[in-house]
Symmetry: C2
Amino acid sequence: MGPTSDDITREALARYARVPLLRDQHLLELIAGRYRDFGAVMQVNSEVMADVPQGATSLINQEGSAPGIRLVSDGVPIFALPGVPREMRAMFSHEVLPELLREFQPETQATTVLRIAVEGESSVAMKLRDWEQGLPSGFSVAYLADLGNVLVKVTGPDEAIVNGLAHNAALLVGDSVYAIQNRSAPSTPLAAEVLGLLREKRHSIATAESLTGGGVGQALTDVPGSSENYLGGLITYSPALKTELLTVPSALIEKVGTVDPNVAYAMALGARRATGADWVVATTGVAGPGQSEGKSPGTVYLAVMGPAPDGGAGVQVRVVKLEIHRSDRDLVRRSTVIHALELVRRTLSELGNAVGQVEVTHLVTELRK
Amino acid sequence: MGPTSDDITREALARYARVPLLRDQHLLELIAGRYRDFGAVMQVNSEVMADVPQGATSLINQEGSAPGIRLVSDGVPIFALPGVPREMRAMFSHEVLPELLREFQPETQATTVLRIAVEGESSVAMKLRDWEQGLPSGFSVAYLADLGNVLVKVTGPDEAIVNGLAHNAALLVGDSVYAIQNRSAPSTPLAAEVLGLLREKRHSIATAESLTGGGVGQALTDVPGSSENYLGGLITYSPALKTELLTVPSALIEKVGTVDPNVAYAMALGARRATGADWVVATTGVAGPGQSEGKSPGTVYLAVMGPAPDGGAGVQVRVVKLEIHRSDRDLVRRSTVIHALELVRRTLSELGNAVGQVEVTHLVTELRK
């Protein structure tokens, strides 16, 4: 649908419907206006985007410049949308879906979604096996797994029953459920849940990252309003910066390397001092693809440090080990970000650690000073 | 294809082909082995993944546990792949595509791709309009636009001619082309190009981020081997951390706010001192969705600082202003990351800026020391 010579959808639709392609002057003005909104000038070659098959209507693109086309041929409506995913999605939601809903009037179904962090799909499904057998007729469950996240969708004709079933399921799955929401609610990423817990406590957080290289900070700041609780962080990718910015003792790194629970602990301690944040989360490990310091990709240590749960002057610390059995750099890094956020959520909520998080106990005591 | 009750593809295929579903004991062993590789235990409910329609073969999943299925029915091969995108892609490449290529033996076509940063698709297409008219018969061009990136693919039956045409196109497009590569080469993200230029010079780089919250560091560390040149960085999301970690004068922030070219400059200076890196790139601005400090979302300042191009003792600085005319937080942040990397690339390559340079004028003079 775009301005380039390989965008042949307009011509193809016109030929299919055996109608001429006409330039719509009003649409041309709208497209030129879009370019002005984006601070750009419309080029001559972009004018073809205002060509529309005779009898067709154009669909508004809220995310870009190329309009869509709606053409009825032999009584069948045909929609042509731009290929850029975000433009396609927005146009489908605003221009296509309303017509489909009007036309087909689907039965109203209520849906409630459980959002689950760092637990495998088959482990979740096992816990829900008996519950699933007992679902009333007309009610169903669907599972959607993404890296480190599982969604369980409960659907049926009655909202109160769906909600009740979903809450029962959440009890069976346990601590790894971090949100229960209706489908109509905007989705809650794990980072938003963590920031919400911090907001309730009026606590701030900072990050100290090695293998994730800024990924934990990015996930937190993806959430609008994150500046209320996220102060910032230190990306100490080189061993020297771990010492210079986070005061991790160089003697420690020389002795044990950087992929070590004591280093994660010292990073958290240093970042808490440097930033003054109430909470700090630190990541260090091997992203891969190859080994580092003789350790396999996916060997990761996390540390979370924050105020003691009793509200006293003390500090609580959790240091855990992850073993992400993957050699894919991107997977290891993204999985580490999710585990780090989940460790913060569980510490804030006074829950036990997640599956695969092994508590580390043998920390060098001098560091605790 | 997974273990949960809503995974009905196996049954559907068996019913379609009118054959029974049989449990494959050898496949069951393989799946259990996958779970062991991932450090997990196979649950009872996962055993259904070893069910295969009689006469079908299973396809290996290199990225997950659920196998695919290849079934021939009435002489037509049917492939069923898991829905998790990375698992689907890997299985398609390793199990489906080779069979399709054997079956259909497509004409060999050479492709060369131009990778272009921070220039719009229609602007690129305008520059190539005459060149495109002159393409020899049998040679074609395709445009693929993503946020802040345009790919131009030149395809034809002769590799040398395709290469020559692509290089001519690169000259016409100009400085924004950052890579020219054959389709078979692994794709070069902009961050990899930046790190390659740094490696040639044996220079290090660090980041100082506000609105991107770690995104520039993450983009750089996405590249395997980035630790050779990327030292780390500081995420100074709160104004106080800009002063505490990067010594941005609090008097400056009180006077001009944080969305200001002088603040970007001071952040770069502070990060260069704190990290000792040869190069530093700094980001500050309004991510949105709402205004901040009276400025619109998409108002962003970038600063790059590094050794003078003549190799002398001096320092060079570029400070630019972006006006990203979008109110979408995610778009503004991702676009800023790409612009920041492109500014580093152009400075390292001694090319002009992609957007307007901003003179830093109101800088507190003490900062220049």
